[in-house]
Symmetry: C2
Subunit: 709 residues, 2 copies
């Protein structure tokens, strides 16, 4: 399988570093030329000094950058400890020692995911009347043979020859080479790379080595089978912790296998994607949609991939929630009826061409991108824009979001064009949504395998008259001529068809041979047979067609919900400076697990009726809320809910008892207002429904400054 996430690592270098490197390269050429012409020392020395000065300048700059990076480095461990503490998620089966790549979602993680999925249904399914389906996880082998997964959904793995530890081959190469490059950079900047016990001292790399490693990292997806094996041998890639050699890479299929039923003879897999279920139901869906085109099916469900080495938390796991759309469209009319609604959406597009030229993404309107042919067609463009809008809506930072086109070497076997929504986090740029034009690949494959027509039938406004080459069998002669071999010969004739149409080129080819007197062909039994014009006839005939039949193309936006959720957590996390550094998750209200915290300022029965009023009011508006009447200080309780990303807090205090007012605090500004309960409820409703913003609320109502207890 194509490894869809991008190399991790640092961001692009600062522009002055690039300029400096250029200057050093040029100055190097100058010095080299002088040396070549054996220039006198008085001419050579100043150029040499200049080169050394430039190199020193670069060294200082790199050092400074490394220090900056260290300082600005995202505090991942801070976020992770918050996520575990507040049970957003946690490794599954931990009391049994855990299993890599499996995670359970606790209450806030579960609510966050539910809210993301609910917005997803609103944004895509409801908005476009998509047909939602729910198909099974268990999938028989035959289906996944047709889809290509049994043969191709595999990664190469290698073993440590002594310990037997298993590595995913491409990950190992990437890890080792990145380490070597990093060590080399450290050496050049004067720092000492970390020594690994039992392994040779790190030596500086030659310029050729650096260049080769960088090239390999860029093109790693191209190495398969024996090429990959040779690469591992040539670069002496070893298991990082032991320094032992590794075995030759072997393919490992990533699907979980099981037996369906009691006979033990019926092999099945857990689906690796939800898409196949949609395709198998195409005919029913098309009928359900009363034959109208285009239309889309949608599905939310689990998929399973038996990763060789799961890692990076929620980013590479063995069981995950996907939300997939299959949009069926006439391959000759890939325009989209609602394209005008997104035409002016401007977004960062990182085309294959730009990647080849090692340039960055470009900001473009989706309209322009389709007009210029950067994005293949309107429907694909429409979904690229809708995906972008969705991600921004749920709180992904647009500055760390880009749409990247697949290079031809990384495209999945079924895709004819593909754009990924990539989100940047401390793990680098990670693919979170794929948007592929799968063309008619899947429907054609399932149709050929099962003999079931998976087609659209379009009534033509007027019939098309067309000449076609056809082949007729002279039944009277054919049977007697071949007897029990007739089936093998018929099989050959069937192979001249595509679906239920004759392939013109193949027919004309056979006709050419027939015209020489007789044609020698190979039957499906592998034997040769001879065909003559008294057995078959090939001729052109005129047809009148009232219906156009075609297999639709499929545009597939496919969302990895767990990945989106994790990246969103990183984008939402910040640390509030204060007496203690406290983590905050700044979720937009629409996806916050709990919208409003309700709390009495202290333990007192006289607060209870007011707490109940607030809670009942919020529930009436369907606003999720939580009462925190624990004994902790009000500050601690606010802090706990900042960590949960709860945007609003309503506090009942002694003044409430006097005048039925409560305070409303907003999470990020930590500012408060004080109004009657009914007013505060209305304000929260408007905030949650995005009918107003906190700034507007602050402008309208006086700020309240409270003495903390």
């Amino acid at each position: 399988m194509t490894d869809t996430d991008r190399p991790t690592g640092s961001a692009d270098p600062a522009p002055d570093i690039t300029a400096l490197k250029d200057a050093i390269a040029k100055q190097g050429d100058v010095v080299k030329a002088l040396k070549a012409e054996k220039a006198p020392k008085e001419r050579l020395q100043p150029e040499l000094d200049r080169l050394l000065a430039l190199k020193e300048e670069l060294k200082q700059l790199l050092l400074k950058e490394a220090q900056e990076n260290e300082k600005n480095k995202f505090d991942r461990s801070g976020l992770e400890s918050l996520l575990i503490k507040r049970f957003f998620y946690a490794p599954s089966f931990q009391i049994y020692g855990g299993i890599a790549g499996l995670y359970d979602y606790g209450p806030p993680g579960c609510a966050l995911q539910n809210n993301i999925l609910s917005l997803w249904r609103q944004h895509f399914v409801l908005e476009e009347d998509m047909l939602e389906v729910e198909c099974t996880n268990l999938t028989p082998e035959a289906v996944l043979q047709t889809s290509g997964h049994v043969e191709r959904f595999a990664d190469y793995m290698v073993k440590d020859t002594k310990t037997g530890d298993i590595f995913r081959a491409d990950h190992l190469v990437k890890q080792v080479l990145n380490q070597r490059l990093e060590d080399d950079t450290k050496l050049r900047s004067g720092a000492a790379p970390k020594a690994v016990k039992g392994q040779p001292k790190v030596e500086p790399l030659t310029a050729d080595q650096r260049a080769e490693y960088e090239l390999v990292l860029e093109t790693l997806d191209n190495y398969q089978g024996e090429d990959l094996h040779q690469l591992i041998r040539r670069l002496d890639i070893r298991a990082p912790e032991t320094g032992n050699e590794v075995t030759a890479p072997v393919l490992f299929n990533l699907m979980f296998e099981t037996q369906i039923g009691p006979t033990g003879q019926f092999k099945g897999y857990l689906r690796p994607e939800t898409a196949q279920g949609h395709f198998l139901n195409f005919k029913r869906l098309y009928e359900f949609n009363t034959g109208q085109m285009p239309f889309a099916s949608a599905s939310v469900g689990k998929s399973f991939r038996n990763e060789i080495s799961p890692r990076q938390g929620l980013l590479r796991v063995r069981e995950f929630t996907m939300a997939e759309i299959e949009h069926y469209v006439d391959p000759t009319k890939k325009d989209h009826p609602r394209f005008d609604e997104v035409r002016d959406v401007v977004l960062p597009l990182y085309s294959a061409t730009a990647q080849e030229a090692a340039a960055g993404p470009t900001k473009l309107s989706i309209g322009e991108a389709v007009e210029k042919g950067i994005i293949n067609n309107q429907t694909l463009g429409y979904f690229v824009a809708r995906i972008y809008l969705f991600l921004v809506r749920i709180g992904v930072d647009p500055a760390r979001l880009r749409m990247r086109q697949h290079m031809s070497n990384e495209m999945a076997h079924y895709a004819c064009d593909c754009w990924d929504a990539e989100i940047q986090s401390s793990y680098g740029w990670i693919e979170c949504v794929g948007c592929a034009d799968r063309s008619a690949y899947d429907l054609t494959a399932h149709s050929n395998k099962t003999g079931e027509k998976l087609v659209v039938r379009e009534q033509l406004p007027e019939p098309i008259i067309a000449d076609k080459w056809v082949l007729d069998v002279n039944k009277k002669n054919f049977g007697p001529a071949f007897k029990k071999n007739a089936k093998a010969v018929q099989g050959y004739l069937d192979s001249l068809k595509e679906g239920d149409q004759w392939n013109e080129a193949r027919l004309l080819d056979l006709l050419d041979k027939l015209n020489t007197g007789k044609a020698t062909i190979t039957g499906t039994d592998g034997n040769e047979y001879e065909l003559t014009t008294d057995l078959i006839k090939i001729e052109k005939r005129t047809f009148k067609e009232y219906v156009r039949e075609y297999i639709p193309s499929v545009i597939e936006p496919s969302f990895g919900i767990g990945r989106i959720l994790y990246q969103l957590l990183e984008h939402s996390y910040y640390v509030r400076e204060g007496d203690e550094q406290r983590g905050v998750l700044k979720f937009p209200a629409c996806i916050a697990p709990i919208k409003a915290l309700v709390l009495p300022i202290s333990h007192s029965d006289e607060f209870l009726p007011f707490i109940k009023d607030v809670v009942t009011g919020l529930r009436r508006f369907n606003i999720s809320n939580k009462v925190d009447d624990s004994g902790s200080s009000i500050g601690k309780r606010y802090a706990r809910n900042d960590e949960l990303g709860t945007p609003f807090a309503v506090t009942v205090d002694f003044q409430t008892v006097q005048d039925q007012t409560v305070t409303l605090r907003e999470r990020d500004s930590t500012k408060q207002i004080r109004e009657k309960i009914s007013t505060v409820l209305e304000i929260i409703k408007d905030l949650v429904e995005e009918k107003t913003t906190w700034s507007e609320v602050e402008a309208k109502y006086p700020t309240f400054v409270q003495q903390e207890l």
Copy 2:
């Protein structure tokens, strides 16, 4: 595993049949007694005539009942063809020939399920602040060993000795015996039972045989292993279609097995229930709830059971959606804080005692049931009532719903009391929700296995002072005395503990032996050792405890969503008489897949802006809707949406263009009103939110009679 669904088949016999059978039995005794005392013919004959007359009367009654049943029989095939046609659900992978026990949900089925789950979350999770979790389907073997599933989650299967066809043993026995009883009834009523090719002619059964078969059917769950084998041999149970003998029953584990990770050495299963994931996260959940008790976790997800012979559509499948709640409660305080809210709910309870007495269910208030001890405790009673209310709310017919207590022989291995919500359909009474008191079984088992404490720690208002027997090891002597065997002896001492507490009985037992001078014990290595009082000391000491530590009991309401959904479809289905018989699904609006159909009376561009107004308005209220602007007649379009269970239809016609009014049709009455668009939108909103009823709407607005086009 316990087979949780109840025997299918006809309802209880009519009371006059039961009375007649009693009368025949009594009259039989009279005749028998007269014969025994060799009574003269003139005394015997009238009694004999009376017996024969009674038998004839019974025969006529049974015949009449059979005819009635045939007539009233639920038109299942009518419903099923509707469900397939409108793609509520369909067998998965059908174009590949399908796989038994796997179903895909199409758009209306999916929406129906989503709506049921959304109401479930409202009714249970939100209403009671339950902690929702999402755990993985993949589960390592160790977890399911502890839970008992690896050993016990199995059914007996048998094979046709000639064809190799596989049957679930208890299902086969049930099927064969039911068939024999049915054939016998037919014979007695004068009808001829269906002859099966190659099998002997059906002979009437003796009274003893009938009685035995009925007893076996009642107690089938009691037959395991060799008993089951003997039963099959004794009753000559054979494969029904071939008449061949079957093999001895063997256990078949119902879990789907797979390998996790690339080593091939890590066995896992697909979970057979979602419960274990909750239990493993107990500690995190308890902390998340800031240590407050009681509380509950909730989860919605798939479970998997590799059924030997899936059947009855959605009722016995291999992959299904469950919604499970685990409510953790102090085993010494099983009252429920909100019990008063349900105390007066009256519902049909079918207690174990009533089942033993072959009586029917009794209508009781839940308060009374708990007071009388019919239901074990308030918490269990609270959930029994809440489950009942939920099912009625989503549209289950209360007349075909009962809460049935498990008999002791059918209780799962972990349960100490269990009530099922059973719903009646054409398949009989089917368990759709289980509500079990699992006691502390699971948490104790996982805790013992992993050594992780899964307990509640309750601060005591004042410390408890208690005397306890304890054992101390004299370390100075113990090590030297046993040397390398010390570990085996220590292992024995550890076995005297339960958790971290000494078992008093075991200690006193050992003390008795010690008091004789020395105690011979068996170490964990199987060898015998001698203990003396200079090696260990057993004495009573006084402890002061500030914290009470306990493993909570778990009350588990567990919902089979697919089963509920199917039973609901049967309860919702009826056929409207008319020119053509048309199927209707009378879903309550809250769960209807689509709430409102929007349609122009004919194709005309002038209707478009009004259609858009209606749709936009409905979407603003979050009311799912569908435009049907196909060319079909208005009657056909109504009928199509009756089949989908769409409760309301808004029609835009020529009058709309004049005065902005539209018609609003209600599905079941087929009555219409005509009002301004804005009024109609408000009415629909109130109907969907159950703020008004259609009768109220009809009373308030004049009925509109439309000429159909």
